[in-house]
Subunit: 333 residues, 3 copies
Amino acid sequence: MRHTLGTIAEKLRGRVLGDTSVSLSGIASVSSAAAGSLVFIEDANNLERALASPAAAIIVGEFAANAAATKPLLICAHPRLAFARAAELLHESDGQLKTIHASAIVAPSAHIGGNVAIGPRAVIGERVSIGDESTVGAGCVIGDDVEIGAHCRLDPNVTIYSRTTLGHRVVIQGGAVLGSAGFGYVRDSQTGRYEPFPQVGQLMIEDDVEIGANSTIDRGALDETRIRRGTKIDNLVHVGHNVQIGQDVVVAAQTGLSGSAVVEDNVIIGGQVGIADHVRIEAGAILGAQSGIPSKKTIRGKGVVFWGTPARPIRAYLKELAFLSRSARKAGG
Amino acid sequence: MRHTLGTIAEKLRGRVLGDTSVSLSGIASVSSAAAGSLVFIEDANNLERALASPAAAIIVGEFAANAAATKPLLICAHPRLAFARAAELLHESDGQLKTIHASAIVAPSAHIGGNVAIGPRAVIGERVSIGDESTVGAGCVIGDDVEIGAHCRLDPNVTIYSRTTLGHRVVIQGGAVLGSAGFGYVRDSQTGRYEPFPQVGQLMIEDDVEIGANSTIDRGALDETRIRRGTKIDNLVHVGHNVQIGQDVVVAAQTGLSGSAVVEDNVIIGGQVGIADHVRIEAGAILGAQSGIPSKKTIRGKGVVFWGTPARPIRAYLKELAFLSRSARKAGG
Amino acid sequence: MRHTLGTIAEKLRGRVLGDTSVSLSGIASVSSAAAGSLVFIEDANNLERALASPAAAIIVGEFAANAAATKPLLICAHPRLAFARAAELLHESDGQLKTIHASAIVAPSAHIGGNVAIGPRAVIGERVSIGDESTVGAGCVIGDDVEIGAHCRLDPNVTIYSRTTLGHRVVIQGGAVLGSAGFGYVRDSQTGRYEPFPQVGQLMIEDDVEIGANSTIDRGALDETRIRRGTKIDNLVHVGHNVQIGQDVVVAAQTGLSGSAVVEDNVIIGGQVGIADHVRIEAGAILGAQSGIPSKKTIRGKGVVFWGTPARPIRAYLKELAFLSRSARKAGG
């Protein structure tokens, strides 16, 4: 679909300085822009470079409202957000019919919605339901009794264990494993051997959740693991059994959450963070990369950044680092 | 199969207070219990809640032997262990015949035991042997000359490289990769380029080992990587080439063991621990989450908890943290 | 193919002490050597053990030039490198014809080079090109418009997203995911919800790069992610969008590189290292295991080892650790 700057501006509720009839073919960065590209900048320092690029138009903030511009400008309150939304409009697929590949193996009892795509070699188990407009990539294995909502996208080679539930608009990237058995054993004190504790619960993933490549999310032991609406999880993240993650939480790559951890809404978690079992991270806290929260601790403080292992408020932690560096230099002197 | 509290009690060698003829349909947590559920509690504080639930019966310890109970109680020395075993009895499959899916690709030279299940699209290489009652999930790829024992369970999309050996009752969760080439290179000092060191060894996994989703275990370089009887490994764990892990070791999620590390029996390793090359962890040591053991070090101390990087006994480490916090506060004052 | 010590010595440009006509069947470690094995040692201490083994011949350094040897010795300047190269010669396949398995699904528009192997159930998308002598393992999913050079090896169950480019002699181990969408969102300050920032860039992997099992490499957001010639990446490593990794870099297992990080040539990165967004690691630096580099920092120092979080030169870091340990002991007095 071909768009003009004017139609995009209308949908983004921005105002155009210059020619609204410019035709746009897609989005790009300033450095990779071609004729027809829509680009964005977030401060006045980059305006000159953007104007010198071959881009057709530039999304800017109010900071550029009085600039002498040789290209049309689209002024928006939040240029990055406007650019992200413009990208969706410009790259929207044109409603082509999706198909179920002949090599996919779909159980007869599965219920497949309208305009669903199922890739080559995907395996869909008994009584699975898949909502309208969803896509299941090549090589995915979907266990029995899984529910997948509408407008979901499962990339290739995803594994979903039986009885997992996904809401609408959920995105799962390649190789992720959802609903695997949690890590729970009971040691027989007489033999010293570990015996499996039952892992018969479920995994519930709510609307608009996204999960990165090769991440693993265990199902509940007796109850459920739940990831709430809008939470975004990066690659190679581990979520243990019975974990509860709130709404609009961000979890960066290679972080691990142990069994029964609770993360409330709007928390931001950096990469390689370790959250032990039965920890609670209260709403709005921010955990710096590689920090560690010991078993059963509660982290409290909306907007407060925590860092280190055991995690403490970053101000205190930086003071400790400075004291240590100073003292060691002195002592070593 | 339908069980009564009496038949379960007999198999667990527990004693029943109350009606032994109660019929049980499965296990549950107290909060998710339904009529027919068997639940367990580990201390007297939870007895009232369990009695108020819809559960049919409760596994308890001796602490409840004199309680006024409105439900039948099953008294066991170790309620959690008894519950785990009851779960196996109650959820035991009823011996249904397993099948090899028509879409599986099984090499003619493979030797498949009795009552083996092979899922859709699984690929079984030349001269593979699979023992009785084992299950290979959809999308698994089993290389040539792999040996898999009896009663094993491989979940979907597992990859096993050629010549890997698995004992009996081994469980491998979805997406795990076993027997991949280790990370070994030799640098040519003249060109500065890395050339691969041969990775022609094997991976041996002994009986009752369990390996979590998307974990990776490399084969030996020239010799073997070996994981001994009863060891349990969580999700996203990395085990390098030539590593030796003893019996009944527990390794939590996202931990990594570098090449030629040795872990003796009964060690407990937390999540995100890093064990460098040629490290030795002696029997019974406990490594706290995120701790790190530098190259070639030995960790010694049965039942001693080590923490930090480089890992030290936790008492010493906590003293250091306390000193640092105190001193920095004072200095900053 | 059968080799003698003489033909191997000629190719390695080493000199033989003893019988050059000895026939070699393969390489081995000293402890696993059989009759016909070629082994190597790097110092004189191991010579006696090697001579006592059943090996047919031993690669040694000049240190053994005057030894009284009961087996033929092959003297090379760099025994480990010579052994690695001997392994390639001895284990070279004898040019057997590779085939495309009947169950592979290859798009008609794909261009497959000469003597390419494609394993069972692999899926090759539209307009993919695969160079001569390359191998694609069972269960791999290769998206549309992917380019794969000559002599590449993709192990089973690898996922490659659309438009990714691989050079020649690239090795990708099982379960790795290449070209997935990066972790980029824009928060709408009014609703508090995260919306996806466009991830429409590419992933470029240059010649001789090797990537370990279950690693994940994201494509660029608007531009590209690039891994340059000769870089080796271990298992379970995460590489974020827009990352640039130079030539001959080594990255050990479970390390993570966040978005837009730059790693220059010849850097060595240990296991479980965390590199935040927009970090620059200058040429030749060495990052110790588990170290962490905060956002936007530059690490400089050819041959200097950095350790800790935030990473500092290891000498300073070890002094801090020593000071802390000493002071805490004293204070705890």
